[in-house]
């Protein structure tokens, strides 16, 4: 269970302080895939960095499985948007994936620390690469691969150490549409097969609805929770069939309006029936 407890984050010193995240509260159950969507500058990335323990919140706290997060917690992995600056160009793909395994990777099995031997790390890295369909690229350098493949490597690296919580910061923002769909399905598969809790930040509304069990809509900066919408689309999701569904279109419109801050038309809100979503009466407090 991940608990984000009225987290606020201010940048800069008192005089020119800029509030980026304003009292965001959120609970994410184990194995849940929650997407966070909002206009650019709404503090999504800041919130994610607070959860990752990379940035201390100015107030409030993040609690992962009962332990307050003060530094990068065990069992956490991150996939950054900018894969080209996150993968190390001086290491081969295999080495990039194996690098974290020395110090992390056994949180699930309860064993202490990571993979002790080079051989074990190498095998683990290769199997992670295989699971994202990149076994052939193990000996190459990241910059020899296409953008989509590089992001796959970053995902393999994040998964190799068997995380309990995976944070993804606009992971598919700089890959082409076809690759993006493939990678979305990869994330859904990983979430379903390995029961990893995933927090995915995106500015793409279709993506937030298609991949999410829940969609959190943030207000334009400073970021507050505007709505917490449960996505009741049937699993497994499928790029074409799921997006054809009436419910998908309705959810998509609903999230769109929330992102833009437009009120929902009365007729459609009625048609939607007993809503699976609940808009925050008081944004910022979520039970």
């Amino acid at each position: 269970m991940l608990e984000i407890d009225s987290v606020s984050r201010t940048y800069g010193s008192s005089g020119t302080a800029q509030l980026a995240v304003d009292g965001v509260s959120l609970r994410v159950a184990d194995g849940e895939l929650v997407t966070i969507v909002g206009p650019s500058g709404c503090g999504k990335s800041t919130l994610l960095r607070c959860v990752a323990g990379l940035l201390p919140p100015t107030s409030g706290q993040v609690i992962l499985n009962g332990t307050p997060v003060t530094s990068v917690p065990d069992g956490l992995s991150v996939v950054f948007q900018d894969y080209s600056r996150s993968l190390y160009p001086w290491m081969r793909v295999r080495e990039n994936v194996a690098l974290p395994l020395r110090n992390s990777g056994r949180t699930r099995t309860g064993e202490d620390g990571g993979y002790r031997t080079r051989v074990a790390r190498r095998e683990r890295a290769l199997s992670a690469l295989e699971s994202v369909g990149l076994a052939d690229a193990a000996g190459k350098y990241p910059w020899q691969l296409s953008g989509g493949m590089q992001q796959r490597v970053a995902i393999a690296r994040a998964l190799a150490c068997d995380p309990v919580l995976l944070l993804m910061d606009e992971p598919f923002g700089s890959v082409d549409a076809q690759t993006r769909e493939d990678l979305e399905d990869l994330v859904l598969r990983v979430n379903a097969e390995r029961n990893i809790t995933i927090l995915l930040v995106t500015h793409d509304i279709d993506e937030s609805v298609y991949t999410g069990d829940r969609v959190i809509v943030l207000t334009p900066g400073p970021g507050r929770v505007r709505a917490d919408i449960t996505v009741d689309l049937p699993a497994p999701r499928e790029q074409i069939a799921t997006k054809e569904l009436r419910e998908f279109a309705q959810l998509r419109s609903e999230v769109s309006r929330l992102v833009r801050g437009q009120p929902a038309p009365v007729a459609e809100a009625a048609a939607h029936g007993p809503s699976s979503s609940h808009e925050m009466a008081n944004p910022g407090t979520v039970s």
Binding site: V72, V78, D82, Y88, W90, L99, N103, S104, W143, C161
Partner: protein, 269 residues
């Protein structure tokens, strides 16, 4: 794609063609002028051969002049560079990773670097024993700055996301240093090394002109004092060859360690 053998030869020939023509023109011109000051390359070459490479086979054909003058100079350069590298790279990385300390030290470093080392020779003469000690000190004092400043720059400009990734994946301090910071700073370190290597040759000659009883610089000085122009030219050519060889070595090492860097740059559009 394999490059056919003859094409590679062609490339090699093209590379050296201009130099060969220049030498040939010089030969013709010097022969026609019969100038004392500009002996033809053939004279210089035979002088070089006779002076350094006509020794006994047991000494790899090196003459006593070669072992007595060329070897000490090369050794001084190597020791000087080794000391510079051993100080500048660890210090540069430490300083580059500490913005606070570098902030304090930066003015000092900039001043120290700006001093032309050759003008400080009297100080080194006073501080160190005449001979190898003083010469090595001069080489270190000159070559350390490009290395240090480039290493600081390289260590300071490690990508923020590269470091954040290291934090997220819980790399140890040692791994962070050896797998992230040093590889990332290495291209800049090599830039510094290149500058230091070419400086080291100049400083070697200079320090041997000032205070030495052997070495290439000493030999050059005594040749010019006794108007032995073929010998003077021979030392000049030898210096050029030494400089070229040192560059070739640095190039080779760089190619081995930084192949990723060349590749990454080529692929980044």
């Amino acid at each position: 794609m394999r490059i056919p053998g003859w094409l590679r030869w062609l490339g090699w020939i093209r590379q050296w063609l201009v130099l060969a023509i220049a030498v040939w023109l010089w030969q013709e011109w010097a022969n026609s002028r019969q100038s004392t000051f500009f002996p033809p390359p053939s004279t210089i070459l035979s002088q070089m051969h006779q002076q350094w490479f006509s020794g006994p086979a047991a000494h790899l054909f090196l003459t006593s002049d070669a072992t007595g003058n060329v070897v000490p100079s090369v050794v001084r350069i190597l020791i000087g560079l080794a000391i510079s590298i051993a100080i500048a790279i660890p210090l540069g990385i430490a300083l580059g990773r500490s913005a606070v300390v570098t902030g304090f030290l930066d003015p000092l470093l900039q001043f120290a670097r700006a001093i032309p080392v050759v003008t400080a020779a009297p100080v080194f003469l006073a501080l160190f024993q005449l001979g190898t000690q003083m010469e090595v000190a001069t080489i270190v004092a000159g070559t350390i700055w490009p290395l240090l400043l480039n290493t600081i720059d390289g260590a300071r400009t490690v990508g923020a996301l590269h470091l954040e990734t290291a934090t997220v994946f819980r790399l140890s301090r040692w791994e962070r240093l050896t797998k992230v910071i040093i590889p990332s700073a290495l291209p800049k370190i090599f830039t510094g090394l290149r500058l230091s290597v070419s400086l080291s040759l100049i400083l070697m000659v200079y320090s041997e002109l000032v205070g030495s009883s052997n070495g290439i610089g000493y030999e050059m000085n005594s040749a010019s004092n006794s108007f032995d122009l073929p010998e003077f030219w021979a030392t000049l050519v030898l210096l050029a060859i030494l400089g070229y060889l040192m560059n070739v070595i640095v190039d080779g090492v760089e190619k081995l360690t930084l192949s990723w860097h060349r590749g990454a740059k080529r692929f980044a559009r």
